[in-house]
């Protein structure tokens, strides 16, 4: 363990940030916010360009003649049926984020936009921006990263690492080895910090749920630490024994609860209103996606610039941070598929699912605000973690659905921390598919401390700045991966 320089550097780097965050939360928060705001103001155009060009590249590749290239030997066939493959893709994307932001995000955008337009228009625009943030771009970033990992692993027999495409495609030059090494390191820190951020957000969500269910005073630190401790206990055990099938079951259970919740809201809530919203948002998305892909709001003043940096830009960086993690998982379940079915499946199906999710949760939020006069916008601003629960209270069986949301959030968190500890161990040991338990445990502990540091900020914006801090450098690795993939396809495949 101590003879591996990558592992040691990665552990020291993420460990140092974790300790910094726990010892002096404020200074980490200030540093992250200043650094990220400088990077965002200077490089917003580049981040949007990367996200949009990666999306274009994914769609173009699916439609090109390289679409028939198989991720594996030419005679290989997919390991999983298409239905169970698509279900597993949902599970990868249906993280705790959707539960948290389902109603909160559209309502937060609405608050900003309603100051500049009519309520109906503001609701439309808010839902559109939310769908844009969670739609094709997110999944194209995942798809291209996963494709690079899958292609070089299963067709070129290289280790499933972020550096493998670079080492394979760019062979000449002394710079390749250090850049490849650095890309593994950046992937590791982006995953660790990104996952810890998600952990903190998930803990806020579980806490908000428990507070609502038992009518407790919001924002209690003791409860937050209690949830954190329960979570640590829940994920440290599975790291010591091999429970991969158990983890898959837990993740499926979480997904099932989330799916039932969606269905319940749709059927018990104002069904026709939500369905109208869904169809409406499909139209808005399709007609606006190209413009929005290149929108950087240079002439709208500081309020809009900050809103754009805090949401869309932050999300793009967030997806890039998550891409190596989701990429490894998606690559693993996609062996034997052609590039075309891979991209169409990974990009279109989950994007459509997100659209449905926000149409229902966001639609419920707007119904509450516009028709029932509920103070949901204030709730989404002051206690974003409670929005979903306040929304559920308007429907029958609120206690049951609230408890279901808390349970799903908790299960999502446990499974994602366990999988992240596994992927981090794999990446930091040169692609070892069965990393030693002590390495997995070390990563588990680092994730927990990083999560604790982010949780101590107690503030969603601070958590997002710290995530961006870990991920921003990876914005430069993603285009390198895409170029390595495209170059190798053009050079070595002749479909």
């Amino acid at each position: 363990m101590f003879r591996n320089p990558l592992l040691l550097t990665a552990l020291s780097l993420t460990g140092a940030i974790a300790v910094w965050g726990v010892v002096d939360t404020d200074s980490l928060e200030r540093f992250a916010s200043a650094y990220v705001s400088q990077q965002f103001s200077s490089r917003a155009w580049f981040i949007m360009l990367v996200a949009s060009l990666v999306t274009l590249a994914a769609l173009a590749l699916a439609l090109s003649r390289y679409g028939t290239v198989r991720l594996g030997a030419d005679d290989e066939r997919p390991e999983f049926s298409t239905v169970s493959w698509l279900t597993m893709l949902f599970a990868a994307g249906m993280g705790v984020g959707l539960l948290f932001f389902g109603a909160t995000e559209p309502l937060t955008h609405y608050r900003v936009l309603a100051e500049h337009m009519e309520p109906g228009q503001a609701a439309n625009a808010a839902l559109f921006v939310t769908n844009f943030n969670w739609g094709l771009h997110a999944w194209s970033i995942y798809a291209m990263t996963a494709l690079a990992i899958a292609y070089f692993s299963y067709r070129k027999h290289r280790p499933g690492l972020i550096s493998s495409p670079l080492r394979y495609a760019f062979r000449r030059g002394r710079w390749v080895a250090p850049v490849a090494w650095l890309s593994d390191l950046l992937a590791i820190s982006a995953i660790a910090i990104g996952l810890a951020g998600s952990l903190a957000i998930g803990i806020f969500q579980v806490q908000g749920g428990i507070e609502n269910l038992f009518a407790l005073e919001p924002g209690g630190n003791a409860l937050r630490l209690g949830v954190f401790a329960a979570l640590c206990l829940a994920f440290l055990l599975p790291l010591t024994v091999d429970l991969s099938t158990g983890m898959a079951r837990l993740s499926n259970a979480a997904m099932l609860v989330a799916g039932l919740l969606l269905l319940y809201l749709l059927l018990v809530g104002p069904t026709h209103y939500l369905m109208n919203g869904l169809v409406d948002s499909i139209g808005l998305y399709v007609s606006g996606v190209v413009r929005q892909s290149f929108a950087t709001y240079p002439y709208f003043g500081e309020t809009f610039e900050q809103w754009f940096h805090g949401w869309t830009l932050n999300y793009m960086v967030w997806w890039i941070a998550w891409a190596p993690f989701v990429g490894v998982f998606v690559a693993r379940i996609s062996r034997g598929r052609t590039i075309r079915e891979f991209i169409l499946g990974v990009v279109l199906v989950p994007s459509f699912f997100s659209l449905c999710w926000f149409a229902v949760f966001g639609g419920m939020g707007f119904h509450g605000v516009l028709n029932d006069g509920l103070p949901l916008v204030e709730v989404a601003t002051k206690t974003p973690e409670s929005t979903a629960f306040v929304l559920l209270e308007a429907l029958p069986l609120a206690w049951l659905t609230g408890a279901g949301t808390v349970l799903a959030a908790f299960l999502f968190l446990v499974t994602s921390v366990v999988s992240a500890a596994y992927v981090l161990s794999m990446f930091s040991t040169g692609g070892d598919e069965n990393p030693a338990t002590r390495i997995k445990l070390t990563w588990g502990v680092i994730l927990a401390v990083l999560g604790l540091a982010m949780m101590l900020t107690g503030d969603l914006d601070a958590v997002r700045s710290i995530i961006a801090l870990g991920a921003i450098a990876f914005v430069f690795i993603l285009p390198l991966l895409v170029v390595a993939l495209l170059k190798t396809l053009v050079r070595e495949e002749n479909p």
């Binding site: 400088q38 490089r43 062979r171 000449r172 285009p479 390198l480 170029v483």
Partner: protein, 36 residues
């Protein structure tokens, strides 16, 4: 030109250079394939 402006110019210059490197990497000849 103040410091913030200088930093901004520097960050953008490195981004331009990076885009140049990407194009160069895509176009350059890597020599014989390493396929076994």
């Amino acid at each position: 030109m103040n410091l913030a402006n200088l930093v901004d110019t520097f960050l953008n210059l490195t981004t331009f250079a990076f885009i140049g490197v990407l194009v160069w990497l895509f176009l350059r000849d890597e020599g014989p394939s390493s396929e076994e």
